[in-house]
């Protein structure tokens, strides 16, 4: 085995680009949401939904464009990332459209805001924009290592993005969380973009400082403890996360940033001590905040026993409703359009969209979705393993790790595994920022994987014009 592997790297034998595999998978990723759309229409209205052909074709064209861009500009990219993202995004739009049809949510919106607006068309528009942004990233970013130059600019950028929602007049307080800003009628969640920008900073910074952080250390109880002065960066990030938590009431983003940093720090230094320190710091921070901040306390109570405080607390009712949604779905689910996950009320199509998956697609559907997310993470980690440069490695693992943490925090929250945090399920939840940011994330992973899998340039033809003799056993 090892012999064969070695020979293939020596020779200029073309590595398969896997673009056709991607195209085939993409065809499924387009067809499945279209069937789902038809299914919802049939079960709710008893007829095929309007514009099936137009929407189906539109979706196929978007996926086709994305594929062509990848084929042209990232030929050796990982073939799974694009189809999975497309499938999740497509099903997300169908889920949102299904919740748009809910009489209960319409009435609720009319009673609260006086007007009900459908979310699916907007989500479709954002998907289009996101695919465009995806293409632009692949077109412009020929090599991810270029981003290394923007290490410190990224840090500044990320800080600005994080601070924006707190600025009076710009930030918008929605259901207690200050994570939105409104610009010209659009709500933007800067945190979603900050996730990517800050990964650039972490990767660039750690690549430079990894030796100092890894080697200068003292041994204590089997652990290599860093010097006090090297603790600076992690302390700063920790403080920043806590500030985000305290000022923006956003437990999720705070956890996400800190977790991402610890993961990247560990990968960069190969020192287990960083994990221990990181865990201790997050447990400490969480305990202090959990005991003092009232909105966190409420969520912890709701997590411990949602039915004990069901009728008295809105947070408990939300979690209880979500859990009952999952339970009522059972193994096979009620089928598209036939559940009552809209009982959750507000945020049914954003933070709680996974509960609709739970009820209507059942245990089977939820496991399928979790495995799809798991595959994206796995492809991301694999990209990090395959990447040849440390910056690419760190960048890829940072993005994949953050993605994994986000899935865990959101799905775990709506399933009552951990306290609920206000974050959105990537690709599924309604919201432009989330869709745009996650497509950028996929574009970057595709770019890194393309660089990683691209075969080394063929050696210049030898003037001897003699091929190296390949010795084959038998």
């Amino acid at each position: 085995m090892s012999v064969v592997t070695n020979t293939t790297t020596i020779g200029a034998i073309e590595a398969p680009s896997r673009r056709n595999t991607e195209l085939l998978l993409l065809a499924f990723a387009v067809v499945i949401p279209i069937f789902a759309y038809a299914n919802v229409g049939l079960s709710i209205h008893g007829e095929l939904p309007p514009g099936m052909l137009v929407y189906g074709l539109g979706f196929a064209v978007l996926a086709g464009i994305a594929h062509l861009v990848v084929r042209r500009f990232a030929k050796y990219a990982d073939p799974l990332l694009l189809p999975i993202a497309t499938l999740l995004n497509g099903l997300g739009v169908v889920l949102i459209w299904r919740l748009d049809q809910s009489e209960r949510l319409r009435t609720l919106a009319k009673r609260s805001f006086g007007v009900f607006t459908e979310s699916a068309p907007r989500q479709m528009m954002y998907t289009g924009l996101a695919i465009a942004l995806f293409s632009v990233v692949l077109l412009v970013l020929k090599d991810h290592r270029v981003l290394q130059r923007f290490t410190y600019i990224s840090m500044a950028g990320a800080l600005v993005l994080l601070i924006l929602p707190v600025i009076p007049g710009l930030g918008a307080d929605v259901f207690g969380a200050k994570i939105w800003i409104s610009v010209g009628g659009f709500s933007i969640q800067p945190g979603e973009f900050a996730k990517i920008v800050i990964a650039i900073f972490f990767a660039g910074y750690l690549m430079v400082k990894r030796d100092a952080l890894a080697l200068a250390s003292r041994r204590f109880m089997g652990l290599y403890l860093p010097r006090g002065r090297d603790l600076g960066p992690i302390l700063m990030i920790w403080a920043m996360s806590l500030l985000v938590l305290v000022f923006e009431n956003d437990l999720g983003t705070s956890l996400l940033f800190f977790g991402m940093f610890v993961i990247m720090l560990y990968v960069a230094t190969e020192r287990t001590s960083w994990i221990v320190i990181g865990l201790l710091m997050s447990v400490g921070g969480a305990t202090v905040v959990g005991m003092t901040a009232s909105h966190v306390k409420v969520r912890v109570t709701a997590w411990l026993d949602p039915f004990a405080c069901y009728s008295t607390s809105g947070a408990c009712e939300q979690v209880g409703q979500s859990i009952m949604s999952f339970g009522s779905g059972g193994v096979l689910g009620t089928g598209w359009g036939q559940g009552n996950s809209d009982l959750i009320g507000f945020a049914a199509n954003s933070d709680f969209i996974f509960s609709t998956v739970g009820e209507e697609l059942g245990l089977t559907g939820v496991m399928a979705f979790l495995l799809l997310y798991g595959l994206i993470i796995e492809r991301g980690v694999r990209t990090a393993l395959a990447a040849r440069d440390p910056f690419g490695k760190l960048f890829a693992i940072g993005l994949s790790g953050a993605f994994a943490l986000q899935i865990f925090v959101v799905a775990g929250g709506v399933m009552g595994l951990i306290p609920l945090t206000g974050m959105t399920m990537p690709f599924l939840a309604s919201g432009g920022s989330s869709v745009l940011a996650n497509w950028v994330l996929i574009a970057i992973l595709i770019r890194i994987s393309d660089t990683a899998r691209r075969p080394a340039p063929a050696p210049a033809p030898s003037p001897d014009s003699e091929m190296t003799q390949v010795v084959r056993p038998s």
Partner: protein, 487 residues
């Protein structure tokens, strides 16, 4: 850097694994519990998602379903003549739950019953909508209407049974309520529900099954049965050894008689004019335990599922001798539901054989297949056929010559007994007027036994005659309706 990368990869895998385990826990292990929790509105939504099956009387549905708008409950229960049938149907309200037949047979009515599994499975393939089955009752529409209309504005209840089978023919309670008024979950429904709940008249109480009244003199037929069965008396025409005045055992209180000629009166005469002293004396001679035994054979001291549960009527098992003597004329702690007194009458009319009362004849699937059919069951034999015929003779005598003449029906032999039960502190409240009776066919069997109770009989004269004056015409109307519409 690849070693930590692999570890991170493992860590991410564990995160996803934790989620997978959690979803299996929620959606498989706990699915049943979560999907049936009381907080889970889906339970009610499913209950009203399809057209409910109907409750049927004499081939005609007395219920229906209506589509509701602006609610997550698709169908709402409607009642064709709500107040008339409320004591039978109970209610099925989207907001306030359900009771009685609507609750007990909810599985059949919604189509969720396990016995309808095949219908549902077949429906799944043929694409037919899930339908509810029907509940076919034993009630007699004419008798029910007669009972309800003749009770009129008075507060009271009627229970009528076919003595031969135990089938319940009429079950009326007034003042009644219309379950349609709060079947939905709108503001109006809530208002109607509040009003009914706050009403001093206790409209929602099913007086025929779930209210116990002191049975007064109607209980004397039970005492008669006990005296005959326990050999205290063997001939109803022989004078008894009752003194006048009769002093309650262990006390110095004389028993007041409203009738004359009670001293040493025969049972036949004593029942005809309703002597208190004679029956108190007989009850004392039978003894408490003997009285309890006979009363329990008639159904006292236990609940009865028709399948709607009727409260247990009471004959005190621990009272002293004086209490027992008073109880033998239906006072003291003795209390009976109208259904219980109808059962007493039915057992006597059916020659001593008490049939278990029931109101559901059949449960049918949506395609009208029978799922369950009730077979008449014997419940007990409180008295022998010979003794039963003696009591029958006495009861016929009451209607022919005694206090119950207003229940006479032309060309039909009717047996009955009046009752006026005093209650309240020092018997200050208005008495309850009772009448129990049965009608006899030429072959000696009886198609109907009735018990009527009227509360707050607005009559100043507290003579025993009130039962005959107020309640007997109601019983007569019910008996006539059954005789005319035998079905």
């Amino acid at each position: 850097m690849n070693k930590p990368l692999r570890r991170i990869s493992l860590f991410c895998g564990l995160l996803v694994l934790a989620l997978l385990i959690r979803t299996n826990w929620l959606q498989y292990v706990q699915a049943e519990e979560l999907s049936t929790r009381k907080e889970n509105r889906r339970v009610q939504i499913a209950q009203y998602a399809t057209e409910r099956g109907n409750i049927i009387v004499g081939g005609q549905p007395i219920t229906g379903s209506a589509v509701t708008d602006g609610s997550d409950f698709k169908f709402k229960r409607t009642y064709l003549d709500g107040p008339l049938w409320a004591p039978v149907t109970g209610y099925a309200s989207q907001a306030f739950g359900s009771t009685q037949l609507e609750k007990i047979d909810d599985g059949i009515l919604t189509g969720n019953d396990d016995r309808l599994f095949f219908d549902r499975t077949i429906g799944m393939f043929t694409g037919e909508k899930k339908q509810g089955g029907n509940v076919i009752t034993t009630l007699n529409a004419a008798a029910q209407k007669a009972a309800f209309t003749s009770l009129g504005d008075k507060k009271g209840a009627v229970a009528a049974i076919d003595p031969r089978t135990g089938a319940i023919l009429a079950l009326a309670s007034t003042p009644s309520y219309d379950p349609s008024t709060f079947a939905g979950n709108s503001k109006n429904d809530e208002k109607a529900w509040r009003t009914l709940n706050d009403s001093a008249d206790k409209n929602l109480v099913n007086r025929a099954l779930r209210e116990t009244y002191p049975p007064g003199s109607t209980f004397k037929v039970v005492t008669t049965a006990a005296a005959l069965e326990h050999g205290v008396v063997s001939d109803i025409n022989t004078p008894t050894d009752t003194p006048e005045p009769y002093i309650l055992p262990g006390t110095k209180t004389p028993m007041v008689n409203h009738a004359t000629g009670c001293e040493k009166a025969s049972l036949l005469y004593a029942l005809q004019v309703s002597c208190n002293s004679v029956f108190a004396h007989m009850g004392d001679k039978v003894g408490r335990d003997g009285m309890v035994e006979t009363a329990q054979k008639f159904g006292f001291n236990s609940t009865i599922d028709t399948p709607v549960r009727a409260f247990a009527s009471v004959y005190d098992k621990t009272m002293g001798k004086d209490g027992n003597a008073l109880s033998s004329i239906g006072q003291f702690n003795t209390a009976a539901t109208p259904l219980q007194m109808a059962m007493v009458t039915a057992a006597i009319a059916n020659d001593g054989k008490l049939m278990k009362p029931y109101m559901v004849e059949q449960l049918t699937a949506p395609n009208l297949d029978t799922i369950e059919k009730h077979e008449p069951q014997e419940m007990s034999r409180p008295l022998s056929a010979a003794n039963a015929q003696k009591v029958q003779q006495m009861m016929v005598n009451v209607v022919e010559n005694g206090t119950g003449t207003s229940a006479k029906i032309k060309n039909v032999k009717v047996g009955g007994k009046t009752g006026t039960a005093q209650h309240g502190e020092k018997n200050a409240k208005r008495p309850y007027a009772w009448f129990i009776s049965y009608a006899e066919l030429p072959d000696g069997s009886s198609p109907v036994a009735v018990a009527v109770v009227i509360e707050d009989s607005d009559v100043k004269d507290r003579e025993d005659i009130t039962g005959g004056g107020l309640a007997a015409p109601v019983a007569k109307a019910v008996m006539e309706a059954v005789l005319k519409n035998k079905g």
